[in-house]
Amino acid sequence: MAHETADLRQRTPQPETFVEARGVTKDFHQFGRRSTVRALDDVNLTVFSGKTTGLVGESGSGKSTLGDILAGLQVPTAGDVLYRNTSYARLSADEKRRLRRDVQVIFQDPVAALNPRMTVFEVVAEPFVIQRSVEYRDRKRLSVRIEELLADVGLSADIIGRRPQQLSGGQCQRLGIARALAMRPKLIICDESLSALDMPVQVAVAQLLKDMQTKYGVAYLFITHDLRMAEFMSDVIYVMHKGRIVDQGPPTYILRESVDPYVQELRNAILSIDERRFVRARHG
């Protein structure tokens, strides 16, 4: 019966598509020269609500460009990007504002992503200022909210008056995450957000990201060159090479079963650096 099927569908929910790239192509024109560089070539990628999509590629693969396009910071040359099933290009003014609140970015260089002239307080307050939100008009509520966000990311409230140069790389990245979380976004694009951090800090921040996902249900597009980190973070991984998606699937598939030559090359490279002597050295 109809209502029985409906009941069934409710009990096994399909992941909801939040943001999607369809056939996205991006060309860059070299200024003053005839040639163009094709950074992205017919890319299809889906980000599901509340889940983490990993995007793995080496430098020059185009992964950051794709991140920019999904964040609305760049426009594709061809193809379409959809937000809740509506094309970015055809969003109303209201929907555009919603998109800006729903999609945030954290960057690779945590210190450079912060204005050196702004204090910690100002950094986290900025989203409220820009979006002219309710908290912005009430200073007290704003302070409370900012302290909540800092606590969320594991920063103590006594750094509120400091400037980015006075914080470590890990602290700056946590600050970037606090700023990104301010508007309770639905998707955070992590553009190589862990790469510049020391290994123990990478571990801690990766765990923080996971905790935030559990707490707030935020989705991630986790862009990285580190296949192992992608495996830890992601529910599904896309592998990119020279602007094209060469393979995609759950982490176990990518790490063990994929027969794509580039994916294999990636795996072998990691293996030869990581295991060859490290594990042997550790266990005598």
Binding site: F31, P127, I130, Q165
Partner: protein
């Protein structure tokens, strides 16, 4: 390690602050103070003539002597300083605002708009500035406002170029990209992030433009085109003094000295600003 942050709490000093900069900045401040006195309350009436006291050498009554009309040179000098400072500031601000607007628009718009505007600025900059000022003054007629306009206008290309450069550089700053991703409107991003980044360079240029403006005003008044007599100006006083150089050298000495000190002070204060702000 989070502890690294505490280490970075201290600012590492890498440049010794030379005493010469402190000295020159003091000179500029002194000139500015004298100009203010000239503006508010010069010791004697700069206009009052006295046939009897003509060409008097420096004395206790007239600290820098008198000119060919018996007017007190010291008082005239203070008023002249005030006038020239006013023109200098006015011209510099005019150039700064005009240049900043053009430069910001050029930098933030697409590549072609930027390139075209900058080529126009280059063309304007290539024009010898005094000739341009002369032409403009002939058209609009002499006077204080005209001088500000004529001198200010040749500062515009320099500021435009600098602002353009800073905006172009600023566009690539990561925290500018971050502000954009937060939903910041271009004007907001410019004001809050790009402009403060450009400010140090612009301030240094402001000091430089100021001293150029002062010199230009002196040149124009010397030629008799800028601000008209009997209003005292550094250039005008020098122009008069030239006729009496042998008999009454103090008439040229003091205005010349003040002009030199003002320009040197203004230029080195630019260096001082650069040292502190970087």
């Amino acid at each position: 390690m989070e502890q690294t942050g505490r280490l970075l709490n201290q600012r590492l000093i890498s440049v010794e602050r030379p005493r010469t900069i402190v000295l020159s900045s003091a000179i500029f401040v002194l000139m500015l103070a004298l100009a203010l006195i000239g503006l508010i309350h010069p010791p004697q009436n700069p206009m009052s003539m006295s046939i009897m006291d003509r060409f008097a050498p420096p004395s206790s009554a007239h600290w820098m002597g008198t000119d060919e009309f018996g007017r007190d040179i010291f008082s005239r000098l203070l008023v002249a300083l005030a006038t020239d400072f006013a023109v200098g500031f006015g011209a510099m601000i005019f150039g700064w605002i005009g240049g900043a607007i053009i430069g910001a628009v050029a930098g933030y718009s697409g590549r072609w708009v930027g390139e075209v505007l900058m080529r126009l600025m280059d063309a304007a900059y290539a024009f010898p500035h005094l000739v341009l000022a002369l032409l403009l003054l002939t058209v609009v007629g002499p006077g204080e406002l005209s001088a500000v306009f004529a001198i200010g206008i040749f500062s515009v290309p320099v500021f435009a170029r600098l602002t353009y450069g800073s905006v172009m550089e600023g566009k690539h700053l990561l925290y500018v990209k971050a502000a954009q991703s937060l939903g910041g409107h271009p004007l907001y991003v410019l004001r809050r992030h790009v402009f403060p980044h450009a400010l140090p360079t612009l301030l240094v240029q402001a000091a430089s433009s100021f001293s150029i403006a002062i010199l230009a005003e002196a040149a124009l008044s010397f030629l008799g085109i800028g601000i008209q007599p009997p209003a005292p100006t550094l250039g005008g006083m020098l122009s008069d003094a030239v006729n009496y150089l042998a008999e009454s050298p103090w008439m040229a000495l003091f205005p010349g000295l003040f002009l030199l000190l003002t320009v040197v002070g203004a230029t080195t204060i630019g260096d001082a600003i650069e040292g502190r702000v970087r």
